[in-house]
């Protein structure tokens, strides 16, 4: 099931606004377009606020499986998971 994409929604919204401004649409249709426009506007705003703020780094755990850990760029964590066998728990 394809998810609605932000840029598609934004494009549709722009088109609806243009169409309403042009005029010459029967009342029922303009109400429908307005409703859809509001829905798209809400959807886009939602998409912008949706994402959770997280910065993570993938490190190999004891069992060898990669897991995300919180990441602070200032810390010199030198190890890459695919190089040597040792892992360090850095924070």
């Amino acid at each position: 099931m394809p998810k609605e994409k932000f840029e598609d929604a934004l494009n549709k919204l722009e088109k609806i606004v243009s169409k309403l401004e042009e005029g010459d649409i029967p009342l029922e249709e303009s109400l429908k377009l307005f409703e859809e426009g509001i829905r798209l506007s809400r959807f886009c705003n939602q998409k912008l606020d949706e994402a959770e703020k997280k910065v993570e780094i993938l490190l190999k755990g004891k069992n060898g499986i990669l897991k995300p850990h919180p990441f602070e760029p200032s810390i010199n964590s030198g190890q890459t998971p695919l190089a040597g066998e040792e892992e360090k728990e850095e924070e």
Partner: protein, 446 residues
């Protein structure tokens, strides 16, 4: 060494002596020449002829040395080689046994790069039509780079500034050295297989061609090409172009630029949405206002039809009045003229004339009647008179008096002159009563 006179050598002896001389003198030489007749049998040894404009020499690079070549030898390629001369007794020829070869004028790495680039381009890995578009608002971003270094720090700073709520996942890798390229390829594959990131940034800070070499390797190029997730390459400085840059869906000149490209400024996006929302509501409001006004207008009419009709009455009267005013002025002018004309007309009223004429006719009739009577009387008298005269002049009354009419036969010509007849002619004599038919006996002039 001097040979004694008449000392006869075997072929082998001669060959051996030549071999000693050659191999002693040329234990290590550097030679500049062009490859031709290149041959690489399944053994992996590389055989070719090294030549210049006037001479040529056979050469071989054995498998052990050939293995570590960064580039592919080709016919026509100018190279600089290091090796020794060796004589092969069995065939009686000499050749260069090479330790290493380098392309002349261009580094081995650079040549290798060019050759790989050409090969991958032919395969279609750089095809612009196959590049995926970068999502406008990614929520999850994957980054493949070193966990230390300026690149990742810069990227995170910029991303935070532009869009505070992003989920960023870093897959740390070595970005140079042995094995770096396979780590980079693995990272890309991992993101594709185990995560749902919207876009991947692959990059590192600036460096030399050797430093960036991992991003020129085939395994990285193929991993980028096969990625279902769009990839932004962010390698080195503005002027550095690696093969990864050509395969990627989007190239950023630096890692910082990549962070700017991957996501729009959130405030900017919100402003656009706010603006569009405003226009949307405004337009709808206008449309509805229009309908409301029209509707209330209609409702007014519907509620008080009488009023409307009265209005129309007034309007009609008003218009009529206007019309009248407009026309009356015109009419006044015309009216005067008309009056004048109609008066003239009245004067010339044919009815009057008809009356007059009728009177005349009646009078005339009267007169005519009288006149006619009078005339008739006179005429009667005249006629009587005339009749009387006529009577007396009538041939019958003449005949009554005894006269007769004589006519010549057969012509019935009336005779007045005796000369008109001669003896023997027949004549007719008409009397008052009866007729005589006679013949002429004699004529006499009077």
């Amino acid at each position: 060494m001097q040979l004694p006179l008449r000392y006869i050598l075997t072929v082998s002896e001669l060959t051996q002596e030549i071999k000693d001389i050659l191999e002693d003198k040329f234990t290590e030489v550097w030679v500049d020449g062009e490859i031709s007749n290149l041959r690489i049998p399944p053994s992996g040894h590389i055989y070719f002829t090294l030549k210049d404009d006037f001479s040529q020499i056979r050469a071989v690079l054995f498998k052990m040395q050939a293995r570590i070549l960064r580039f592919l030898p080709e016919d026509g390629l100018h190279i600089i080689c290091r090796g020794r001369v060796s004589l092969y007794e069995k065939r009686g020829d000499y050749q260069l046994i090479l330790e290493s070869i380098e392309p002349k004028g261009i580094g081995a790495l650079q040549l290798a790069l060019l050759q790989l680039k050409e090969r991958l381009e032919k395969e279609g890995l750089f095809d612009p039509a196959q590049k995926k578009s970068i999502p406008m608002v990614p929520q999850k971003i994957g980054i493949v780079t070193s966990p230390t270094g300026a690149a990742i720090q810069d990227m995170l700073h910029i991303l935070e500034r532009r869009f505070e709520n992003l989920h960023i996942l870093l897959f740390p890798v070595r970005v140079q050295g042995e094995g770096a390229s396979s780590e980079i390829a693995e990272a890309i594959k991992y993101f594709n297989k185990f995560t749902e990131v919207d876009v991947i940034i692959v990059g590192r800070g600036g460096g030399s061609l050797e430093d960036l070499w991992a991003f020129n390797e085939e395994v990285v190029a193929r991993a980028i090409y096969h990625s279902k997730i769009p990839i932004i390459s962010a390698i080195g400085h503005e002027t550095d172009y690696t093969i990864a840059d050509f395969v990627a869906d989007l190239r950023a000149p630096t890692p910082s630029a990549a962070a700017e490209l991957v996501v729009r400024d959130k405030r900017e996006m919100k402003n656009i949405l706010h603006y569009l929302g405003g226009r949307l509501e405004n337009e709808m409001f206008q449309i509805l206002q229009g309908y409301r006004t029209h509707l209330s207008h209609l409702v007014k009419i519907f509620k008080e039809p009488g009023k409307k009709i009265e209005e129309y009455f007034l309007r009609v009267d008003d218009l009529t009045n206007q019309l009248r005013l407009l026309t009356s002025w015109t009419l006044k002018r015309r009216g005067d003229k008309c009056l004048h004309l109609s008066e003239s007309l009245l004067l010339r009223n044919p009815m009057q004339r008809v009356k007059t004429l009728r009177f005349f006719v009646l009078e005339a009739k009267k007169h005519l009647g009288q006149n006619i009577k009078y005339s008739i009387e006179i005429q009667r008298q005249r006629i009587g008179g005339l009749l009387g005269k006529l009577d007396s002049l009538s041939p019958l009354s003449i005949l009554q008096r005894g006269y007769s009419i004589t006519r010549k036969l057969p012509s019935l010509q009336i005779l007045r002159d005796a000369a008109h007849v001669k003896e023997g002619d027949k004549v007719e004599v008409k009397l008052y009563q009866g007729t005589l038919f006679c013949g002429v006996e004699k004529t006499e002039k009077s």
